[in-house]
Subunit: 285 residues, 2 copies
């Protein structure tokens, strides 16, 4: 495994690689968990070489968000990536990604408008900008993202399609703790009590999917009951709960297989997101 701390060193290396080599890329903000590692494994299976970036991207954090506190553990991350037979790790610095005079941003597409896009106004602009930079630096054949961040995946898919990046976007399933909590680097912020309360999010989404399976098709009905379930949990504040089209992230009135139920909550000061897909009876979407 070769670790690149300099973007320029990486660029030289990338320019020398043969064109017919397939390259799988997993962009991360580090503090890796099983969710990230599942992406690395998927990339490992389908590409000749794999590259992972670890970069806590400042432009996707708002002024009152957790950029400074975001958890970091470079040595542990590198040990985990080594075990997954990662070929190349990129560790860019802020000074290299956002040098003085940097002022070009990617305005995110339509699926970014609502939900996390409303709660975190600069978030997807930062995500689209850094993903564009990383795509241009890495020039991957395929890039891997987690379904836990479903809106992000829809935004990146649309951006990739609109701007014609020659990259295949692969979205992999959410990895959960045994009790259902979606894995997230931010789970480390939770006190034991908060960790218990946080379960209400995945439980509410699972209950919504269950009501659909039992025949309910009105989004409003599923959402009202979910909103109540979260409101009844002390120490948990609802940010949003929605049922959306999987591509546009526009709200739907009548739920159909393939739609997502999405939610965001604050547990104490920690903001967590999760989602579930509504499946057709056969389990297909």
């Amino acid at each position: 495994m070769k670790v690149f701390e300099s973007v320029e060193e990486w660029r030289k290396h990338r320019a020398g690689l043969p064109r017919n080599l397939s390259l799988g890329f997993v962009p991360t903000m580090g503090y890796l968990h099983e969710g990230h590692l599942s992406l690395v494994r998927a990339a490992r299976q389908n590409n000749d070489r794999i590259a992972v970036s670890i970069y806590v991207n400042p432009t996707q954090f708002g002024p009152n968000e957790d950029l400074a506190q975001y958890p970091r553990d470079r040595n542990r991350d590198l040990a985990l990536l080594e075990k997954e037979n990662t070929d190349w790790v990129l560790l860019p610095s802020d000074a290299e990604i956002y040098p003085p005079g940097f002022s070009t941003y990617v305005e995110p597409p339509e699926p970014s408008r609502l939900w996390c896009g409303q709660s975190r106004p600069v978030h997807f602009r930062g995500v689209c900008t850094v993903v564009t930079i990383l795509f241009n630096l890495v020039q991957p054949t395929r890039a891997y993202f987690g379904r836990k961040d479903a809106q992000q995946a829809a935004v990146i898919r649309r951006m990739t399609q609109d701007l014609r990046f020659p990259v295949e976007i692969v979205v992999c399933p959410t990895i959960r703790e045994p009790d259902g909590l979606a894995m997230s680097s931010r789970n480390v912020y939770l006190s034991p009590e908060e960790r218990q309360r946080a379960l209400v999010l995945s439980q509410t989404l699972a209950a919504g999917v269950e009501r659909f399976r039992a025949g309910e098709r009105e989004a409003r009905v599923i959402l009202e009951s979910g909103t109540r379930q979260i409101a009844n949990t002390p120490g948990v504040r609802l940010d949003y709960l929605g049922i959306v089209d999987q591509n546009t992230f526009a709200p739907v009135e009548t739920v159909q297989p393939g739609n997502y139920m999405i939610g965001a909550v604050y547990v104490g000061k920690t903001r967590l997101i999760d989602n579930r897909v509504f499946e057709s009876p056969g389990g297909c979407v």
Copy 2:
């Protein structure tokens, strides 16, 4: 010369090209003149293969601008490109570049703020977006732009640097008519009388450069005299006149070699732009 009317056909062709082939790219809006052809020749000299795109990009025109009237002559353009030994011509359609649901835009960098960026509020956003799309489709080694559109060149250079496109930006000298008028596809709009009046722009810029050569260093002084020269020409209305840093396009107070004197005027309904560089005594910038 192979002409691609379908973006998908081009993508397949591009994917099959060997990596070590250098590819020079000239993006144009067609209605080619000697300025465009000088870019094609520069590309021809320094690359194994060259590609030219002809696409009148709607997103860089404002609602009250000349998109519908913009001159087009595909057959003449193709004949000219054939004569220059062009390898590949791309003729994308609006439906392919901006399909339904298209909604990702590139917010242009700092050098876009003033001048043409103020007179034409959506212009550089459209330019940056389409150039990003074309860079991703063509994946050129080098891309060629004319110095006549100096602010555009500075914007694209900064965008390419910020977003890390693996493309070398080459900016080639302005080509002029014998009497000094900068070549532009829009010159075709001018009546014989307007064509004569339009000369005041290149003459004003040449006079500014001359005053610098004679020792004047105060931008204000050069600009005041230039503004008067244009105001005294009937049928010509000044849009802007400025002296700017060549990279940031911020106005300067004290003129230095390498700075640009830039101007935009309306001659009747036709908007024309031009610029001149302030040279040091030895002719270097």
